[in-house]
């Protein structure tokens, strides 16, 4: 039962990762690509980590997975914003 839930979560995470990467490649400009990227970061990693946490034996491992997800969440949100803001400034300067 846990294996089933875990598998669903892992596959869902994988789906969001791939969707994010394809979006990164196919979307027209930096701001839209950013949108795709953050989906991969947040949902993709989150679902993947959740699936693996269900599967793991140790509490410490699950806590580490949670910490990893939170760190990536906060870092990618912040850096996405900063990168976009900087790109915007460079555009308006030209």
């Amino acid at each position: 039962m846990i294996n089933f839930a875990s598998s669903i979560l892992i596959l869902a995470g994988l789906f969001f990762y791939l969707a994010g990467s394809i979006g990164l490649l196919r979307l027209p400009d930096l701001y839209t690509r950013l949108h795709a990227l953050t989906k991969a970061d947040n949902l993709g990693l989150g679902l993947l980590a959740a699936g693996l946490a269900l599967h793991s034996q140790h509490l410490l491992t699950s806590l580490k997975l949670l910490l990893i997800w939170l760190a990536v969440l906060a870092a990618s949100a912040t850096s996405a914003h900063l990168i976009a803001r900087q790109a915007r400034r460079q555009e308006t300067r030209r």
């Binding site: 294996n3 791939l18 990467s21 990164l24 930096l30 491992t61 760190a71 906060a74 870092a75």
Partner: protein
């Protein structure tokens, strides 16, 4: 379960590879930095099932460090801009 882990590791590696294409293509530095972020997150994602697959719990620590240092890399890139700017 092993097959699923293998499949997801390979799928994530594909995702990393797609991000790589954007790093090589992406016209502006911002595009490249974004793609580097994806490569970092994909790397973190790869290490997680890999640690179960290869029976190396230490790879989860590597994933944590990779996540944090990818943030440092992004900070280095944008921080330079902040400094240059005002």
């Amino acid at each position: 379960m092993t097959e699923l882990l293998l499949f997801s590791a390979t799928g994530l590696m594909l995702s990393l590879f797609l991000g790589l294409l954007r790093v090589l293509l992406g016209p502006s530095a911002g595009d490249r930095m974004l793609a580097t972020q994806l490569i970092g997150t994909a790397g973190v994602g790869i290490l997680l099932p890999l640690s179960l697959l290869l029976d190396q719990p230490a790879l989860i620590d590597v994933a944590l460090l990779l996540a944090l240092l990818a943030a440092v890399a992004a900070a280095a890139f944008t921080g330079q801009q902040e400094a240059r700017h005002d």
